[in-house]
């Protein structure tokens, strides 16, 4: 059935997409070829670039996971198996389209060329950390990369993305917004707020639901996934909705491109459900064997997105196993080098990487008297505790 789904015009009525909200847009077939109207017809360079970013994302995850286990930081979250859902949209969007991610879209930052060293500095909360050691590891922020500061509170980014998109429309700007959240998080009221506002103001925004079938220990049924699809939510709001094979990088790219074109042409919001699978634990704090069988991973329903893209490139004669081996090695080396570089700035300590006054900055634009007094207290405590620091 890959290739069997119709591709309505980007300017169609929202309800023309209704059948796609309960279907599954697929492009790559078992024959490793691209099929049907959703084939984005990307050139081999683009496909290889996509493969590279996905491989790099995975290599990064592997190393950071190990780093956490070695005590270099407190926490890490992998996106293993879900790389396509961030890398492919990042490539389909303009580089200055604003993204409002959840915590599992490291692939976007990597694709947009944010330096790995900066990511690791943040993860280590070290001297080089642009966020000054304040944020939990992986809660990146980069205005320069149009990457919104990640929140620990689920789904809050979604009405914000809609607000940004509304602002862009108000200003006649051509940039659009895109946001990501897990299927579990769609249960939050904030996501409903996002859908209502997006619908009422016809905001130029893409709402990406990453349905990796798990929310920590809860199967997607606890977010309503047993009754209908998450893309079907779009039907209820009268906005465009697409359900796409999230492990098929070409399908994800095509759906993102469709939604981006639609939004940019003032066609309004699109909700995209990316059907995928969380191959690893929720985070380094989680042990999934307590709630799902180890076998489940082997039955990974839709195949590894990296392997699928690799096999496609090989099938069209634009790649081979040796190049893949070389790429994997290269990615590992890149990450290793970045890690070494970042470690020069230190690993997670007890906060001595940053002057204590920084702790009080950015609460407000300026420090009111009470924060100045508290900063003085903190600085005095530091001097007592670490007279040489």
């Amino acid at each position: 059935e890959p290739g069997a789904q119709p591709r309505p015009d980007e300017s169609c009525e929202a309800k023309e997409t209704n059948p796609l909200a309960t279907d599954l847009v697929r492009v790559l077939g078992d024959d490793n070829q691209a099929h049907g109207p959703w084939d984005p017809r990307l050139g081999p360079d683009t496909l290889r670039a996509m493969l590279e970013q996905m491989a790099l994302t995975r290599a990064f995850d592997e190393r950071m996971y190990r780093g956490q286990r070695q005590g270099k930081t407190s926490f890490y979250m992998k996106c293993t198996g879900e790389e396509a859902t961030s890398v492919a949209p990042a490539m389909a969007l303009a580089s200055d389209d604003m993204v409002f991610p959840s915590y599992r879209q490291q692939g976007i930052l990597i694709t947009r060329g944010y330096p790995l060293v900066e990511m690791i500095n943040q993860i280590y909360s070290n001297r080089g950390d642009k966020l000054k050691g304040r944020q939990l590891p992986i809660m990146y922020s980069s205005r320069a990369h149009s990457f919104f500061t990640i929140s620990g509170n689920l789904a809050t980014q979604t009405p914000q993305a809609v607000g940004w998109a509304m602002a862009s429309a108000i200003r006649g700007d051509s940039r659009i917004a895109a946001t990501w959240l897990g299927e579990g998080s769609t249960a939050e009221g904030d996501f409903h707020s996002a859908c209502i506002f997006a619908a009422v103001y016809n905001a130029p925004v893409i709402l990406n639901v990453v349905n990796n079938q798990w929310a920590i220990s809860s199967f997607s049924g606890f977010a309503g996934g047993e009754r209908t699809t998450f893309a079907a939510r779009a039907v209820g709001y009268g906005i465009a909705g697409l359900r796409v094979d999230g492990n098929d990088p070409l399908a994800v790219y095509a759906a993102s491109q469709w939604a981006a074109n639609r939004a940019r042409a003032n066609g309004g919001p699109t909700l995209i459900e990316h059907f995928t699978y969380r191959a690893e634990g929720h985070s380094t704090s989680d042990d999934p064997s307590a709630y799902r069988s180890a076998q489940e991973r082997n039955e990974w329903p839709l195949g590894d997105p990296i392997m699928r893209l690799k096999d496609h490139l090989i099938a069209i004669g634009e790649w081979d196993e040796d190049r893949q081996t070389a790429l994997d090695l290269e990615c590992a080396e890149k990450v290793k080098a970045a890690t070494k570089e970042a470690e020069k700035n230190g690993i997670l300590g007890h906060g001595l990487h940053h002057p204590f006054h920084t702790m009080f900055e950015d609460v407000y634009q300026d420090l009111p008297w009470h924060l100045e007094e508290q900063a003085a207290q903190a600085i005095r405590e530091r001097k007592i505790k670490w007279p040489q620091a």
């Binding site: 409002f100 966020l131 304040r134 509170n153 914000q160 602002a167 108000i170 609460v363």
Partner: protein, 337 residues
């Protein structure tokens, strides 16, 4: 200058900021075509268009959440929450998002919004149109909380709040939208235009956040109040002939601690008055600060006069309200020492 009531003064401030700064947008339930249930945004949609003044879905989470995104874009949103009692569905977006944005992004993203909301009781609004939840916001670092007590201040403070790059909660004491209130509810409302504080300069001016207003100079005791209660304590002090040093705090966070210390060190006595429920109300913070910072000057216990720790009951609202008797008793107690 013109004589304006508080609604007109707020409308004027909004109008001026809309015209000075194209990034200012106004949003909220019924604020657009209708001009707000209290008419504070009347005429603005007509003047500035639907893209800058617009009605929203009834979803306070979305109102604040969208405003956060608009702020990140570079706009300066002024969302209205129709009643302060209805701000709770938007609290997470305020507490976890607007208030934290600058901090967690190390200054890359800010939320320069001003959330306007009518608050307080005394209009027979019952439990859900009378609350004074300001204390909750003062506990959240990253937010500023502003409460005007006169048309003059409402305009100047609102302009300052809109210009401020931090998220500001701007609570408007709805009991005094049309005229000040001395606490004697059986007397007819006197319109603002009879009072000098309704004399509002034309055009742009701003009153800095974090500066209290000395309402009255006196020696007998310091009274700290804000919003509606400023007028009530003033009237009671006058009626009782108490030579009070009255401060209208205007901004709760950041607080004008200097003015407070100076006054309490002078008078040695301090009365704190607010309409909100007592336990963990902002009066607690004020009392704690006064004790911490002016301890050796204290000649009498620091007293709080507040609403009771109950919901705001519809027909018993004047029994709930911290009126002249309650305030007068506390004054006596403070002076008796």
């Amino acid at each position: 200058t013109r004589n304006l009531n508080m609604i007109e003064a707020i409308n004027d401030a909004l109008d001026i900021m809309m015209s000075r700064d194209p990034s200012v947008v106004i949003m909220g339930e019924d604020v657009g075509y209708f001009g707000g249930v209290f008419r504070c945004t009347a005429g603005l949609q007509e003047k500035y268009g639907k893209t800058r003044v617009f009605d929203t879905p009834i979803n306070e989470c979305g109102i604040i959440g969208a405003a956060v995104g608009m702020g990140a874009y570079g706009l300066r949103p002024v969302p209205e929450i129709q009643f302060a009692d209805y701000i709770y569905p938007g609290l997470d977006q305020l507490i976890s998002e607007a208030a934290r944005l600058r901090y967690r992004s190390a200054g890359e993203f800010i939320a320069p919004m001003t959330v306007r909301s009518p608050f307080g009781g005394g209009i027979f609004g019952g439990q859900t149109h009378s609350q004074s939840p300001e204390a909750l916001f003062t506990h959240v670092s990253g937010l500023k909380t502003v409460i005007p007590s006169t048309p003059h201040d409402a305009k100047g403070l609102l302009i300052a709040a809109i210009e401020d790059d931090d998220p500001v909660i701007f609570f408007e004491p709805k009991r005094i939208y049309n005229g000040p209130f001395d606490g004697f509810y059986d007397k007819p409302v006197q319109p603002w235009k009879k009072f000098p504080q309704s004399r509002v300069p034309e055009g742009y001016y701003s009153i800095p956040l974090g500066k209290a207003r000395k309402v009255r100079d006196g020696e007998a005791m310091t009274i700290l109040a804000y919003g509606t209660m400023v007028h009530v304590v003033e009237a009671v002090a006058k009626e009782k002939g108490v030579d009070a040093d009255i401060l209208d705090l205007r901004t709760l966070v950041p607080l004008d601690i200097e003015a407070i210390e100076e006054s309490v060190e002078k008078t040695g006595r301090c009365l704190i008055v607010h309409e909100a429920t007592r336990t963990s109300g902002f009066g607690a913070e004020l009392s704690a600060l006064v004790t911490e910072r002016c301890f050796y000057h204290l000649e009498a216990p620091v007293e709080r006069v507040t609403g009771f720790d109950t919901p705001y009951p519809h027909s018993l609202e004047w029994a709930f309200f911290p009126g002249p008797i309650r305030i007068g008793e506390a004054m006596d107690k403070i002076l008796e020492v």
